[in-house]
Symmetry: C2
Subunit: 188 residues, 2 copies
């Protein structure tokens, strides 16, 4: 057990399969046609990844066959797959995640509601905001300290990076509010 050793693509596939059983081709379409375009839709990425997940027992594929249908293998999560997905989603956001893996955190968040539920989503947002609250000022301090001696474009690039984090921060606050009002609706 312990470290499951699944790539980001692997988790993306688990997450999508958690919402809806799909063939490799379906998943490729998702990557090609939705805002998940940061993932490659190349067969050389998806099919081997699906094979790895199946070999690890996290998903299982069934070949569909109705009369005139082309061969088409539909995958769904196994119990172990659901467990792996959950434990990935439950990992609290760390400082390192904020620096190196914001995109992964957003991917996790996007699956969270369905797999874990709104309470966990909200908790995630609070923790995420906490990390940003401590990191953004550090970046601002760095810019204040070293900005003067940087070339203009380097300074501006840093400013851009900081603003991106500030946008995430503001979003995290707004998203928390969205969950609170969602909660109120349920209670009311």
């Amino acid at each position: 057990m312990s470290a499951p050793d699944i790539s980001l693509l692997g988790y993306a596939l688990l997450g999508l399969l958690g919402q809806k059983e799909s063939s490799g081709y379906d998943l490729r379409k998702t990557f090609a046609l939705t805002p998940m375009q940061s993932f490659s839709d190349s067969p050389g990425a998806i099919y081997p990844a699906l094979k790895r997940l199946e070999k690890s027992g996290l998903i299982r594929g069934k070949v569909e066959q109705g009369s005139g249908l082309r061969r088409r293998q539909v995958f769904r999560l196994t119990a172990a797959g659901t467990a792996a997905l959950k434990s990935w989603l439950r990992k609290p956001p760390t400082h390192d995640d904020v620096i190196r893996a914001v995109d992964e955190m957003m991917l996790r968040f996007s699956f969270m509601d369905v797999v874990l539920g709104p309470e966990d989503s909200h908790r995630f947002l609070v923790a995420f905001e906490g990390e940003l609250m401590s990191y953004v000022p550090k970046l601002r301090e760095y810019l204040a300290a070293h900005g003067a001696k940087l070339p203009l474009s380097a300074k501006l690039a840093l400013e851009c990076g900081i603003r991106r984090y500030e946008a995430h921060w503001q979003w995290a606050k707004d998203a928390q509010a969205a969950y609170r009002s969602f909660q109120t609706q349920c209670d009311g």
Copy 2:
């Protein structure tokens, strides 16, 4: 010629070496201690990358040796290296870059002033803004069309991605203004 086949890390090293000759250790420190922390500072990444660049003739290393000094190899760009760096920096930002490689674009921009000069930096910003201007509305439309049927966390994650692009967009406008006022100062 044609496709130089240099990784993002390779270009980061070229860019840094273009500003200041450095040893592998210096470069590792840069990745470890500045906001370039999205790059790994592991020796297993940097030293092989430097070797590849040297083998391609883009950088050249000299072993420093003063009396009591430890062995330390300092690298600098060759003419071919400068040329490769310039041609990378001159690539206009594409739609695909915006979707898959924003970070690479920001890295490029950060080196641009020194290597190409402010006019090219400004041109880059205009082109970048153009791409965002056409992409952000598409994302907003997708959200409007499909948002209702998405789980809340998925909808919010998409909103976050859009806001990030909007932050880039606003930044691109502000950065252009910064170059204009810089230009005015030079003229005045």
